[in-house]
């Protein structure tokens, strides 16, 4: 990992204020910012890892847990909120046994809340990877997630 990170830092050598760009590159490479990646960065950049972590946590774009094989996004925008998005979120959380922002133990799913997917007519909306599921109910959620789990990622 260290050599990879050195390579990334080289891209931004001697540029001031490049920390966020570096973090973005690291996230692009690994999918998230692991604690190892941050300590390696700290050592190379000669700033403390706590400082880097502080900067990174300010931005929602950075993730600190390894993303699962499937990205589940539940919309809690205005329309979805009105049509019971929170109930959907709760169901998904219970089904996967994680909170939003986390990844399941078997690294199959990671769950995120989003503000609007731009298809409010379909509310409430859930998105798995790139597939959009509209007008979903708690029962449907279970089936959808089960399908993904069984088929290893392919939609039925």
């Amino acid at each position: 990992m260290k050599s990879e990170i050195k390579k990334i830092i080289k891209l931004f050598k001697d540029k001031k204020g490049a920390l966020i760009s570096i973090l973005q590159e690291v996230q692009k490479k690994y999918g998230y910012l692991s604690s190892e990646a941050i300590s390696a960065l700290a050592e190379e950049l000669k700033i403390s890892e706590n400082e880097i972590y502080g900067v990174a946590t300010f931005y929602t774009q950075f993730k600190f847990t390894k993303p699962g094989n499937h990205q589940v996004k539940v919309c809690l925008g205005t329309a979805c909120h009105v049509r019971g998005g929170h109930g959907i979120m709760e169901t998904v959380e219970r089904q996967l046994n994680i909170k939003h922002g986390e990844t399941t133990k078997d690294s199959q799913f990671s769950l995120e809340r989003v503000a609007c997917m731009g298809c409010c007519a379909l509310a409430p909306v859930m998105v798995v990877d790139n597939d959009i599921f509209g007008k979903i109910t708690s029962t449907k959620v279970k089936n959808i997630l089960n399908d993904y789990n069984r088929n290893g990622g392919k939609k039925q």
Binding site: S35, I38, K46, I47, S48, N50, Y53, G54, T57, F58
Partner: protein, 771 residues
């Protein structure tokens, strides 16, 4: 001239409105500013009105300009401030602050009530010194109209020394800034954002895993009870505060000792000291636990029938006096603890020379101190009054020999970091091949002691040849030039020559400092290294930049006082029969010309030994009569014939000398336990019992007056220096016969008390590798 609240006030260029107002005695509330830290503008309480400026500028970030008309207090400002404070308090437990019965409650609640969770001021460890309450009182806040939201964060109590309850945090950022900007650590950072913003480490790791040095700077600046020292948080108001200094290492940080029930409960760093209010975990947190142990020596004891029996002082003194008379003078030895005060050390060496007629007196750290003293006495020119630690900040390069000086909590670290921020290059030379270089180090060379010496010779060669005329006026110039010319560069080795190039490039044409600890001198000819260090500093124009990092709290002072076998007070050579006449006349005695050093004394050179500090008991040989004068029992007590209880540095008054040769006061904060007495008093009593004259000192000041007479360079408190001595160069030859001695791990102790053993939290810190 500016106007504040209608009053004309003179100002200093470059100061902020807040500083100017405070200097003039005008209070402006603020929770995020701190005199040590850069303005931050976070709390918005210090807003003022300035004519010609829009809105309410924050006074902490506004620089004073001529002719400003400022209003710091009116109903409009107070209203805005109250609103700001209400918002702050909507996330900080506030029931007690706005309680109607506050004043009656205060009358019956003395100090904080111990509680698991802090839900109000009465349960807060910071109750007595809370800045939030101060501001609320000033603004006359009666109600918080916003809904209170308790953050319900877990208490963080798994780290040594201090607890963290971020439910009380108001996010002023002082701790983050002091950790990053002053200490250069960056253990704390703002994480997350908006409502969830929190001060924390990366991934909420323990401080033990986050490069924390446990210096306590964050605890000292926290305006709330969010950060609190675990050992002292529940004692409430102290009975008394005593300004004094710490003796656990030689940096000489000044502290205010808070005492209650005749015990030191906390040590708060004082900002007027040489380190500017920065200390280390030992000074900040360890002193109470270290010195308040229940097993402190409280009574004199004499060995009778194989057992140590408590006796009174008179009996003990009579016994010792009679026993000592049975030994011939050169068979009696005295070990002076580097933790004695100057007064005690002076009395002790006078006792050795006048009462016992012996020069067998030395410090246990003499391997380190004696080569330093020899070189310093020979070379030291006048040094600046500012002090070496303050000057460290101005250095353009700093060579550090020994990783220990770099350990995160070392009180020299902030000064090194400040220099680094101003562009200084930091070079660390150590031999720990596995350890990573600390973050603030620019160059880390892994060299043994002998290689380091060769590196220095190479640097001296380069520096001298670059500018030979610079040092023309120095003593020994001719001999030095000769030795440089005779130097065989090939003897240095290829690797070293490369390093020489590298380091010389950094240090040439600029002034710098060299800090070294005892590990740097571990070879058969330690003097050569000290000489080389002095040569480099003189060649780079800053002979004042030598900083020896002693282990003992008062190593420098003990040597100044002449409690060593080569020197009388003030570095008068013991063999110099002309100079010692002055002392013979003053003390009314004839002085012996020779003495044994520490090793010789322990190795069977003496039969009766007077210890003022426990030494490793395995080293003792052929001792027939052993006196131990200490604060705690130790293994060597099994061999002691007499045990005398002494006072620790919080229990006596006197002066000590720090590594920058700053003579500073220590003041008695509490009474010693049981019958314990200050060392100088014990020694004087003993001398009187032995019928020796000249020990009728009434107080420590009385002794200091005599010190001033005998030691010409010490006139009062403050930095001492030899006046008008030109710098001296040291000729050298590259020796091939020098051996490197094995290095020993650093010992953290104060007299017989091992800090690692006695303070659990410190042990945990050491085990994690950062002290």
């Amino acid at each position: 001239m500016i106007t504040i609240n209608g009053k004309k006030i003179t100002y200093k260029e470059g100061k902020t409105v807040l500083e100017t107002a405070r200097d003039a005695g005008i209070y402006i509330p603020s929770l995020c500013t701190h005199q040590e830290l850069e303005p931050f503008g976070a709390c918005r309480l210090c807003i003022v009105k300035i004519e010609g400026m829009q809105g309410f500028p924050t006074s902490c970030t506004t620089v004073v300009r001529d002719g400003m008309v400022i209003i710091t207090e009116d109903e409009e400002l107070q209203k805005v401030r109250r609103n700001v404070l209400e918002m702050l308090l909507s996330e900080h437990p506030n029931t007690c602050i706005v309680c109607k019965d506050k004043s009656e409650c205060e009358e019956c609640h003395f100090g904080p009530t111990k509680a698991g969770r802090v839900t109000g001021c009465n349960f807060c460890p910071n109750k007595e010194i809370c800045e939030v309450r101060e501001v609320a009182d000033y603004l006359g806040l009666e109600d918080v109209r916003l809904l209170f939201e308790y953050k319900n964060l877990p208490l963080e109590r798994d780290d040594p020394f201090f607890d963290r309850d971020y439910n009380l945090c108001i996010l002023c950022g002082r701790c983050v800034r002091v950790c990053q900007d002053i200490r250069g650590r960056g253990t704390l950072a703002f994480t997350q954002r908006s409502h969830r913003t929190k001060i924390s480490t990366a991934f909420d790791k323990l401080h033990l895993d986050s490069e924390c040095g446990f210096c306590g700077a964050c605890v000292d600046v926290c305006p709330t009870g969010a950060l609190s020292a675990r050992g002292s948080k529940w004692y409430g108001d102290a009975d008394s505060c005593t300004d004094s200094a710490c003796l656990l290492c030689s940096v000489g940080c000044t502290f205010s000792f808070e005492s209650k029930w005749n015990r030191v409960m906390a040590a708060i760093p004082r900002r007027d000291g040489s380190t500017g209010g920065q200390a280390c975990s030992r000074g900040r947190f360890c002193i109470p636990q270290l010195l308040n142990g229940s097993d402190r020596l409280k009574q004199p004891m004499i060995r009778k029938n194989g057992k140590l029996i408590p006796v009174n002082w008179d009996e003990a003194m009579t016994y010792v006096a009679e026993k000592l008379k049975k030994f011939t003078n050169d068979k009696i030895g005295i070990i002076a603890s580097p933790s004695l005060t100057n007064e005690s050390a002076y009395t002790l060496q006078k006792f050795a020379r006048v009462a016992l007629h012996t020069n067998n007196i030395d410090v246990p750290t003499s391997d380190f101190t004696s080569p330093i003293m020899k070189t310093i006495v020979a070379s030291s020119s006048a040094i600046s009054n500012e002090g070496k630690i303050k000057n460290l900040e101005k250095a353009k390069w700093i060579i550090v020999l020994g990783r220990r000086i770099f350990l995160p909590s070392s009180a020299l670290n902030p000064s090194i970091y400040r220099a680094k921020k101003k562009g200084a290059k930091i070079i660390l030379i150590d031999n720990e091949t596995k350890a990573k270089a600390p973050r603030n180090v620019d160059v880390n060379l892994k060299l043994g002691v002998i290689q380091t010496l060769n590196l220095f010779y190479g640097i001296i060669y380069k520096l001298f040849n670059a500018n030979p005329n610079l040092v023309k006026d120095c003593v020994n110039y001719g001999a030095f030039v000769k030795s440089v010319k005779n130097m065989d560069k090939n003897k240095l080795g290829k690797d070293i020559s490369k390093q020489v190039e590298k380091i010389t490039k950094i240090i040439e044409n600029s002034k710098g400092c060299i800090i070294f600890d005892q590990g740097a001198l571990r070879c058969s000819n330690p003097e050569a290294i000290v000489n080389a260090i002095m040569n480099i500093l003189i060649l780079s124009g800053n002979p004042d930049g030598v900083i020896p990092y002693y282990d003992g709290g008062n190593d420098q002072g003990i040597c100044d006082m002449g409690a060593t076998h080569q020197y009388l007070p003030g570095y008068t050579m013991i063999s110099d029969s002309a100079s010692i006449k002055k002392f013979e006349k003053l003390w009314g005695t004839t002085l012996p010309k020779k003495g044994k050093n520490y090793r010789e004394m322990l190795d069977g050179g003496v039969k009766a030994l007077y210890l003022t500090e426990a030494v490793p008991e395995k080293k003792l040989r052929n001792i027939e009569f052993l006196i131990l004068q200490d604060i705690y029992p130790s293994k060597i007590m099994d061999k002691a014939d007499v045990v005398l209880p002494a006072c620790a540095f919080t229990e006596e008054s006197g002066t000590v000398t720090s590594l920058e040769r700053r003579v500073q006061k220590i003041t008695q904060a509490v009474e010693g336990p049981g019958l314990a007495k200050p060392d100088w008093k014990i020694i004087c009593d003993l001398a009187k019992k032995m019928g020796t004259k000249g020990f009728d000192y009434k107080s420590h000041q009385h002794i200091f007056r005599e010190i001033k007479e005998t030691v010409p360079f010490i006139s009062s408190e403050g930095i001492w220096s030899f006046k008008d001595k030109p710098p001296r160069l040291f000729p050298f030859t590259i020796e091939e016969k020098i051996n490197e001695l094995p290095s020993t791990p650093p010992r953290y102790h104060y007299r017989g008390a091992d800090i690692v053993e006695r303070v659990d939290d410190f042990r945990i810190q050491i085990e994690k590798g950062g002290a």
